[in-house]
Symmetry: C4
Subunit: 202 residues, 4 copies
């Protein structure tokens, strides 16, 4: 199987996930009176909106990283196919986790569940990278391109911390979710170059 095909299918699934999440953002009902902006604020709309924005960011980051990763793949093995499907499955849980967290902002359980989904997605992404490297050799383009993947490691550890932290103080979890997303949006190369000059990275 060519990798373009798997990538096209993954892109389709990611495009749908990123878009159907917005279906949770329902127009508030205003029976028998004028609709007003306070309907958005009094209800849960602004909170659902915030969690949607965060999840949109995460799916966009995954699309971007997944695309770069796939460009280093020559042939798709059964292992790569199923590791990729496992990643898509975890990412497909975003709409559920986003909706539950957005409708219950401040509650520990939905924040922890969001952390579980992030952790599962991060772990299967790491698995996908490992499977690709295993099938293509440690000297392959993928292996060299991924390097030590410090950022991926930091992210997965962050999610793992955010899950129990939700039951201590839910805002710690939120801060980790937002912080890790920002870590990925901020231009990569400059940070890495700086770190490289400090000898922190290969």
């Amino acid at each position: 199987m060519r990798s373009t095909r798997l990538e096209a299918f993954s892109d389709g699934v990611l495009a749908i996930i990123i878009t159907i999440m917005v279906l949770e953002l329902r127009a508030p009902v205003a029976e028998g009176r004028s609709a007003s902006f306070s309907d958005l604020w009094d209800g849960e709309t602004h909170l659902v909106f915030s969690s949607y924005l965060l999840s949109f960011l995460y799916i966009a980051i995954y699309w971007n990283n997944h695309h770069h990763l796939m460009q280093t793949v020559d042939r798709v093995t059964g292992g790569i196919l199923w590791a990729n499907m496992a990643l898509l499955f975890c990412l497909s849980l975003f709409p559920f986790a986003t909706s539950w967290m957005g409708k219950n902002v401040g509650d520990p359980a939905p924040a922890a569940a969001y952390g579980v989904v992030l952790f599962a997605a991060g772990a299967t992404y790491t698995l996908l990278v490992r499977v690709i490297i295993a099938s293509q050799g440690r000297d392959s383009l993928t292996a060299r391109a991924m390097g030590r993947d410090a950022k991926g490691l930091v992210s997965v550890v962050g999610y793992a911390v955010a899950i129990p932290a939700a039951f201590v103080a839910v805002w710690i979890s939120y801060a980790i979710f937002v912080g890790v997303a920002i870590l990925w949006v901020v231009p990569d190369r400059r940070i890495e170059r700086v770190l490289a000059e400090e000898g922190r990275l290969d």
Copy 2:
């Protein structure tokens, strides 16, 4: 990253946005009697339909413009990627804004909210154009193709006016929304040629 890839992902997201909006157009329920056309008219179906038609038009216009814009792009930088994601995010709010306005026709707040989404989409589109020109040089194909972009400017100003205007008289906002859409559907080149002959455009 090749621009075709970003374009294919954007196309997927736009195809989904333009289609899931129709999910708001629900079949009216007629318990214990025959369904009739008056169910469409007495309920909000015809109003939701009108706002759907308007939003369909806007997404179609964005798809068309986005496609032309991307054809002038050679390489996708991180800045272009994230400006494009910001645009897709704003456009993904169309189903929500369309639904709220369609179910509350005549109320100022939902009309203003629709204007906010249009303004945000117009602003991020302008941002995307600027980022592309910045990355490719002021003499690039994009820079020359976009010219002064009088129509884009008029649109964004129109949306900015429509937001407060909704609280004065909501029909002003509706007129602006429809007017700007027509401005984009009407064949471009003839207008531009006429304006060019008058020396109004470069």
Copy 3:
């Protein structure tokens, strides 16, 4: 604009329309007792299913015809773009019309509404063909390939008859909807060859 791009976008929209219709097929709720097959039959599930099957067939037919039509197009003009968008808009009303008819089988108004959507889709498809021929010349590949388009004409006339017929006897409309769909699914060439031998077609 290349026609492949317009076709890919149209394919995306058609794939979504054909799939989201199934969302109307909801699992019947069985509170406090075992779910049974009679839940499907007592409720409206089997009727919604039948109208879904019919609409699936129609969208599949449109996808097929649209694909063949687009293969004859060299360059996409503004007119072709907007005629195509008008067609997609009409087709995007299928989920609504399907749902309303499926939940109110036997009632004239929803059947007539389904006929209106079919008629609008058929009319915009004919418009699209005309716009393409107009832009490419009467001797173009499209003009020759479409010929007199007897089947298209019969279909649109059928839909036009089905609309008022629903108020006389709704089963006439249903018979027309099913009959026209079968007309398109049955292999084209044999029928046309037979008709051609009879001198009925060019």
Copy 4:
């Protein structure tokens, strides 16, 4: 028609089916108290989740097999087109069957209905293979690649057994659904090589 086009459309439909199933996984409502993990367990969320996971696996398997099958096809005939549409129709019933079974775990009828959908999908897939071989000759690449298709046969027989078995003991059906899915996920070639060495397969 080129087979790439049919494949792209099928991929789009499969990507949407695999993703919209997750919409059934709704965030549990926790009015007036904190949301907790027991909301997931007390309600039906964990059961809906399990049936979603199973169906995700099945659609992924179909995507994979369909892709391999299509690679052996040179030209798409009308018969292939409609056999493929019949397959997509059956697969589009997965969201409904998944939802009904997931919300009524333990009830025979929804499990039998899931078996019917699996059987219909398996049967139309087999039909598609037959139509392709018929159009391309028994010595074609498809015919040789499919061989006797022992796994496909076992699957369809399994689904046929699972339907009545649901009314004896629903857990038999579940075991068959899971077992057949595992049969397809486990790497193909090793099993076939072993069987081939035993002289069980051509």
